[in-house]
């Protein structure tokens, strides 16, 4: 059964909102000089938050995450090919950067932050949803659109 675009968009919006919540939690905690609480009581989150990779040009990576997830939410709400390919572009970038950060955690920082893993999982799901939306519906006229190929 081909997934309806409406369902894919709704699922993307929900998952992007979860991503915003996770990234906002990390950003708020780290802005106070702390680190997210690791659920099993480990110190991975403290180590990752203290690492030199936690900031890019002085901006906390979690803040970039909030911006990325917010744009993905916008793309999910945006109908037509602009939303489809915009969402796919953002999801590919987010997924690629998440994989880079996960690599750093495993092999450079040698500590795992559960919240970062959760964010990487969220980004992977968003990539799959946006990929499905683009593959199945690119070039089609959204249901309810009056006219126009790329409405």
């Amino acid at each position: 059964m081909i997934a309806g675009e409406g369902r894919l968009r709704a699922a993307s919006a929900v998952v992007a909102s979860v991503g915003i919540a996770i990234a906002t939690y990390i950003a708020i905690v780290e802005s106070g000089g702390g680190a997210p609480a690791c659920l099993a009581g480990g110190s991975g989150c403290v180590t990752v938050a203290a690492s030199p990779y936690a900031h890019i040009l002085g901006i906390n990576v979690a803040v970039l995450g909030i911006a990325g997830y917010a744009l993905l939410l916008g793309a999910a709400l945006w109908r037509g090919d602009v939303g489809r390919f915009g969402g796919l572009f953002l999801a590919v970038v987010g997924y690629g950067f998440s994989m880079y950060l996960t690599y750093l955690e495993l092999f450079t920082i040698e500590a795992i932050c559960q919240w970062c893993v959760a964010s990487a999982v969220v980004m992977t799901v968003l990539l799959l949803l946006n990929l499905a939306r683009a593959v199945l519906h690119a070039g089609t006229v959204p249901r309810g659109a009056a006219s126009g190929l790329r409405a």
């Binding site: 106070g32 000089g33 702390g34 680190a35 403290v46 180590t47 203290a50 690492s51 030199p52 990779y53 900031h55 890019i56 040009l57 002085g58 990576v61 090919d81 390919f85 796919l88 572009f89 590919v92 970038v93 690629g96 950067f97 880079y100 450079t108 920082i109 683009a134 690119a138 070039g139 190929l149 790329r150």
Partner: protein, 251 residues
Amino acid sequence: MSTRAAEKERLRNHRLKREESEQERQRWVLLSWGGVAVLAVCVIALLIALSLSSSQGGDGDIDGAGEVAADLEGIQQQGTVLGSQDADVTVVEFGDLQCPVCRDYSGSVIAPLIAGPVSAGEARLEFRNWVILGPESGDAAAAAYAAAEQDRYWNFVELYYRNQGLEHSGYVTDEFLRSVAEGAGVPNLDRWEKDRANGRWDAVIAKTDRQAKLHGFSGTPSFLVIGPHGSEALGTPHSAAHVEAAIARAG
């Protein structure tokens, strides 16, 4: 006859238009896929390059110099001591500049102490470099002590913590330390460079190590409170309130 021909021509034109429209759609979709792929690879590469560049440290991009200066403004600094020389109680922190827990304590314990009893003239703070995380911590300690020679020790220590990198990651470079010294407002950087290269800090660091062990401390940060009513080795306190209670007992 001519009507049928015209109708055929109309249908043909319609079909051609539809085919053209379909081809345009396919071109657009193909272009979009290609655009997304190329642009995404470029943006990912840019983000990774920026991340690697930002992680090097010592690039002069030191954060929080103004905030540290504002926090310490108007408080007397002499050598490694912050606060009034007339204060009855001295709070000594044994810390390692590479230690992430010490960095957290800089915000959660030291900052309230500075804003509270130190600003009120009830206590003074002393930070002793207990080097437990290897030679890079020794380099950082020597740089801090050299800043103390120009009464910018606490600016250096607090600014260092705000820009601390991952221990043993190689971020404690000469460039990073100089950036912290600049941000800390060390007036004469040439003198600071000479002072930090001075081998006498090794003896100070060794002495601090002996003192920490003498007090039974097992890790950084550890606190010692000294006052007219005795001294108390707190170890690693739970909060600033814990230290403030010890100040009240010692004073």
